[in-house]
Symmetry: C2
Subunit: 245 residues, 2 copies
Amino acid sequence: MTYCVGMKLDDGLVFMSDTRTNSGVDNVSVYSKMTTWTTPGDRSLVLLSAGNLATTQSVVSVLDERSKIPEERHPTILEVPTMFQAARLVGDTLREVIETQHRDSGPTADATFNATLILGGQIKGMEPRLFLIYPEGNFIEAHDDTPFLQIGEVKYGRPILVRSYEPAMGFEEAVRLLLVSFDSTLKANLSVGLPIDLQTYKRDSFTLSEPRRFNADDPYYSAVSEGWGDALRSALTSLPDFTFP
Amino acid sequence: MTYCVGMKLDDGLVFMSDTRTNSGVDNVSVYSKMTTWTTPGDRSLVLLSAGNLATTQSVVSVLDERSKIPEERHPTILEVPTMFQAARLVGDTLREVIETQHRDSGPTADATFNATLILGGQIKGMEPRLFLIYPEGNFIEAHDDTPFLQIGEVKYGRPILVRSYEPAMGFEEAVRLLLVSFDSTLKANLSVGLPIDLQTYKRDSFTLSEPRRFNADDPYYSAVSEGWGDALRSALTSLPDFTFP
């Protein structure tokens, strides 16, 4: 499994992903599920991936290679004029990769090669946008009513996001909120694991911040993880007392 | 779907269940998923059910009918000498019902008639016990390391239970905690719905408290549901601030 979240804020976009991949509980590895493309001053894009690792790595490689030899196939992810077209390009690539893997795998395949992606970013002259891309290649966009998108193991970490997200929150607050959501998921599903990758994108900056990785011994992550139990107990205590009649 | 929780406390047992059953989102009904048997002074048992409604109703009816005509088949749920044997009786009944439904349904059946149950209670001379019973008829018991059992849509409401459960908490605190867990689940999954049924069992009382039902307009449920958003935001604020380097 996997847990990734993309979030729209008034200030820009925030992306967080875990790094655990597994094939059974006895075969666990660390792989980043976050890929970025940026042309300073023109565009910044972030891709988060959940699903079959062979599929998602292949999608990223295809998009990457094409952007390095743009004469072969236009337009590349560094050339598309809008985020909508970037989402379509990524969706088409995802569908092609899945189709190819199914066709090539022959009768030995007993797995589906599905994957789901989150793509967010901004291209000069337009608003920041955030998409969730399905294995079929189609996609939905985050809007004011649904301002964050999750893929992978979405359930454990969802209630805190639903309750506490505010579009006006700063990046610092958003990171704190997302770490709580990730911590709840990590505590419940072994197939979601540390380290956690973080990337923020400041609106109209057309450049990406330094990526940040939270390891198991990260003091801030530990403080959040350890403090949250006490904080929740205080929150419960602040609710009115129940009394039996 | 469904959401039910059975919880062991030092003081006894607490049971909570939603009441929504659905066959698609366009066919929704209210059914209690909580059944109780009690012989004052001797035993009190509570059964929570998730899964196919025809299966779970049938299991309850079979157990109920046999307890009223004990001469036909011994021992009934009101006669078994231990909670372990009660769990075995319920498990056997569940497996029989599922087998019968599959055998009788013939080639038109395209559904599984599965169900999962939680059984808790106390029989005189023994400790209170709590079991989760699978469709295969086998079961696991709640122990100190895993003191509460969930069935149905378990994920959304789990993080708050994992973080805030304490065996020493009183029934009042447990009800407040469970309502928060249920509220998080209701907010995320349409197939879990109000009203919510509550039953508590005080250790060594061998009698059940008056059942309590929380409707949509219940003032305490509304206070918890409305207050929890603010309480969570305060809890987040109490965590250390994140700062970018």
